[in-house]
């Protein structure tokens, strides 16, 4: 078990194994996203209350789920980096942060755009939207802190600590925002909580969520590989690898 983890922590080994994994994840992501999009946009029935605007759910919900998963993944990677000094974990965390922020933004934007036909305004201080907004600020803080340090290692460790602090706080923030929301505007019609969605509606949603996850994994693998090339460029195996690609192409 430990041997495996340490092997996984070696950039060279990770680079080799991820080369074999990433085409599968990219293919799966493209397939699932295409199937889910066509299914959700064209074949799923329209909602009897919201009409076709409900089709935003197929990008809003996966993005929102991913936005949260990315933060947790980032924090877990931060712990692995802080405790076991495994560099790969930090490379992954560095790569996940901007993508998580992008997904948070997608969730916010699609939520606002969905709010217009549903509530009649672009922005409602709805509990979910508000905690998403706060989460976006947390992401931006982690990204900014990492960039603010002159030495990469300090930046990595500081960002890991902040990600950890953030992940402890997210449930507290969510709970307080929910509480605040029920106090200030009771019984609003929430976007996604609805009684018993029919199968034809949630099945494409499931496909989209899986597609987003595959995309996330594929992108993280690819960009972590890039990060390895960047940070380990002085290592011999990277130099040989670069020389090899030069000869081929």
């Amino acid at each position: 078990m430990w041997a495996f983890i340490h092997k996984l922590g070696s950039p060279k080994w990770f680079y080799a194994i991820s080369a074999r994994l990433q085409p599968w994840f990219w293919a799966l992501a493209i397939l699932l996203l295409l199937v889910g999009s066509v299914w959700g946009l064209v074949f799923a029935p329209s909602d009897y209350q919201q009409g076709n605007s409900f089709r935003i759910i197929y990008v809003h919900v996966p993005a929102a789920i991913l936005a949260q998963s990315c933060f947790v993944t980032m924090a877990v990677a931060g712990v692995i980096f802080l405790v076991w000094k495994i560099k790969i974990a930090d490379m992954a965390a560095a790569v996940i942060a901007p993508f998580g922020a992008a997904m948070t933004f997608v969730a916010l934007f699609s939520g606002a755009v969905w709010g217009m036909p549903t509530w009649g305004t672009w922005w409602v201080w709805d509990a979910r939207l508000t905690s998403m907004l706060i989460q976006l600020f947390l992401y931006l803080g982690v990204i900014a802190l990492r960039g603010a340090f002159a030495s990469r290692d300090s930046g990595s460790r500081a960002a890991s600590v902040l990600a950890l602090v953030g992940v402890v706080n997210i449930p507290i923030i969510k709970y307080s925002v929910d509480w605040w929301n029920t106090l200030h505007q009771p019984a609003t019609f929430t976007l996604t909580e609805r009684p018993a969605m029919p199968v034809e509606m949630w099945l494409p949603l499931l496909v989209m969520v899986l597609g987003f996850y595959c995309f996330f994994i594929a992108l993280t693998l690819t960009r972590t590989r890039n990060e390895i090339l960047r940070r380990e460029s002085a290592k011999r195996w990277v130099r040989e690898l670069v020389a090899g690609t030069a000869r081929r192409g």
């Binding site: 076709n52 997608v106 699609s110 992108l219 960009r223 690609t245």
Partner: protein
């Protein structure tokens, strides 16, 4: 199928601006990040190759001088 024609799909019964802007932004961000990752890899490899060539060159000149 929930729509009679392709035009009906585009119109989304009047919800077109909302549905398509949300989907559009998502598509742009996903495709953009995928393309960015690819471009980043190419740039990195090209940079590293250039640096190695330069170093080899510099090494040869050192050899000449000594």
């Amino acid at each position: 199928m929930a729509f009679d024609s392709f035009l009906a799909l585009l119109a989304m019964e009047g919800h077109a601006p909302y549905v398509w802007s949300a989907w559009g932004l998502t598509a742009v961000l996903l495709i953009g990040s995928a393309l960015y990752a690819r471009a980043e890899r190419r740039h990195l490899l090209r940079d590293l190759q250039r640096r190695q060539r330069r170093e080899r060159h510099a090494g040869r000149e050192d050899a000449h001088e000594s």
